[in-house]
């Protein structure tokens, strides 16, 4: 039950994109097309889950015992960069069809702050390994929900007559604002801890 509530909380009430503003650079740039939004969403969910599964032991068994917590940023960023590299190679080797649809998004993910953010939140909130992974999975799904719905809205907006200065990023931020309003309805729904 605890895992389910954390999962739901991470998707809705504590949506990583709409509540904590993470991963917005790719959200703005990759949400022009629905097809690429799906690819990006799947890729981010995957990388987020895998990196938090690696980062947790790295932090708790490598950094904490030697009092090196202040090196967490450096450690995490190395883990993320190498995980993405490994994941890319694995997918290319064993799932070539998946690679053709998703491969292009993987390198973009290294600089996605949502990935680093999830690992940092995981440490800040003292999750166990399993809750950390569930939280990362939920955050990934939540981020995907945001990018996919944003992309479908932007596809519909191609027909709309948006004022010129607002086209593109401007209107995306306003939509995000209204989306964030809607997501506030979930506040207080389920605890994140």
């Amino acid at each position: 039950m605890r895992y389910i509530s954390i999962l739901i909380a991470a998707i809705f009430a504590h949506n990583i994109a709409l509540r904590y503003f993470l991963g917005w650079c790719p959200l703005v740039s990759q949400s022009k097309k629905l097809s690429s939004a799906w690819g990006m969403g799947v890729a981010v969910t995957l990388v987020m889950t895998v990196t938090s599964a690696v980062n947790w032991p790295v932090y708790n068994y490598l950094l904490v015992p030697y009092g090196l917590e202040y090196l967490q940023y450096i450690a995490f960023i190395i883990v993320i960069a190498s995980t993405v590299q490994v994941l890319e190679m694995v997918i290319e080797r064993f799932f070539p069809s998946l690679y053709t649809t998703m491969g292009v998004f993987l390198p973009l993910i290294t600089v996605n702050c949502a990935i680093l953010g999830v690992s940092l939140f995981m440490i800040l909130r003292d999750y166990t390994l399993l809750t950390g992974i569930v939280y990362a999975l939920g955050s990934g799904i939540g981020w995907s929900v945001a990018i996919v719905s944003l992309a479908s809205i932007r596809e519909k907006l191609r027909f709309a007559d948006v004022p010129k200065p607002l086209q593109g990023p401007g209107i995306t931020m306003l939509i995000a604002g209204i989306m964030a309003f809607a997501f506030l309805g979930f506040s207080g729904m389920v605890g994140i801890k």
Partner: protein
């Protein structure tokens, strides 16, 4: 009548060439087209056209909510009317101003937003907040997307949710007890009997239920137009019969609320209210009939409408039961507005297959 028509066209042709007044030509032309339907013949097939048009389409909604609006005056005094007037004036200025700056045609969508917005506000909302809300709703909820027909979200709900989050104290902590008997609110300007919660709030805090009969007839505190489920239902049925709104959305929405609250009541008896109470209390009926059915912001394909309605029900029941807000209708509709294009796209993919080559 011919005199009036001639006068309007004279004014219009005068302002057209005037250095300053030419900006308001659009307004004059709009007035002219509202007052006189131009007798234009169809130039391409079909040569027979239905008599329905957007003005009538929108006006039917106003007619349908009129009983609920009158009831709000009866329950809460003439202040309710003042709120409606403020909403129309402030929103109208925002709408016309925006379209004039963008040099576009003024469209009729505001006719509906202007009356629906005050009806989903608490009766004691300060008038300046009504103005702020409708301006935000019209500009950020509609005009930035290009005006009527392009908005992704329901403009009235954008304004309402903005107010709810921005002014939580004013919007959700004090409610008025409606007047009943005799001429009730028709005799006075405002009501000052204050209570702390709506039936849904009472249930969330204390777990007690309001009597269904009162909920149905309207003798309970709540938002202006939401109090009487009976009148809202009547207006909604009229709209469904007139085909202005699609019956699928209200049916699937109300049905799924009924179903999921029955299920939820069985699983979490302390948090989920019983189905009939859920259906009649709060803004559900109003939302299901007038808000969720807004054609622009809801899905257009039939299959997507069913999915949309079912999701709306799930969201509403879970927000009401588990979140910090006692009422979840407006949040869930706004939330599902966000997914409406996705549902439509998925239905199209199922029906016609994926796009072979994505656009460049």
């Amino acid at each position: 009548m011919n005199k009036l028509e001639r006068l309007l066209s004279e004014i219009s042709s005068y302002t057209e060439d005037h250095p300053y007044l030419r900006y308001i030509t659009e307004v004059i032309d709009t007035i002219r087209s509202i007052v006189f339907e131009p007798g234009v013949s169809a130039e391409e097939s079909p040569f027979l056209r239905d008599y329905i048009e957007i003005k009538r389409y929108m006006f039917a909604v106003v007619v349908a909510v009129a009983p609920a609006a009158l009831a709000s005056i009866y329950f809460y005094g003439w202040r309710a009317l003042a709120m409606i007037v403020v909403s129309y004036v402030a929103g109208g200025i925002a709408e016309v101003g925006f379209t004039l700056i963008r040099k576009e045609e003024i469209t009729e969508g505001f006719l509906v937003t202007g009356i629906l917005f005050p009806l989903i506000l608490p009766p004691n909302t300060p008038l300046w907040m009504v103005a702020v809300g409708i301006i935000i709703g019209v500009i950020l909820g509609k005009e930035v997307f290009g005006g009527t027909g392009y908005n992704i979200f329901n403009p009235a709900l954008v304004g309402r949710v903005f107010l709810t989050i921005t002014f939580p104290v004013a919007m959700s902590s004090e409610w008025l007890i409606p007047l009943t008997g005799g001429w009730a609110g028709f005799n006075q300007f405002s009501v000052d009997t204050v209570t702390s919660a709506t039936p849904l709030g009472v249930f969330a805090n204390a777990g007690t239920l309001a009597p269904l009969r009162e909920l149905f007839l309207g003798n309970i505190p709540g938002c202006l137009g939401e109090s009487s489920a009976l009148l809202v239902l009547a207006g909604g049925i009229f709209l469904m019969l007139a085909r202005i709104i699609d019956w699928r959305v209200p049916v699937s929405y109300l049905g799924s609320v009924f179903l999921f609250s029955a299920l939820g009541m069985y699983l979490w008896p302390n948090q989920v209210a019983p189905p009939l109470f859920q259906l009649l209390a709060g803004g559900l009926m109003f939302g299901a009939m007038y808000m969720a059915t807004d054609p622009v912001s809801s899905p257009t394909t039939k299959e997507a409408k069913w999915v949309y309605g079912v999701f709306l029900g799930v969201m509403t029941v879970s927000i009401r039961a588990f979140s910090g807000y006692p009422e979840g209708v407006m949040f869930s509709i706004l939330l599902m507005n966000m997914f409406a294009p996705l549902f439509d796209e998925m239905v199209m993919t199922l029906r016609y297959g994926p796009i072979e080559k994505p656009y460049k």
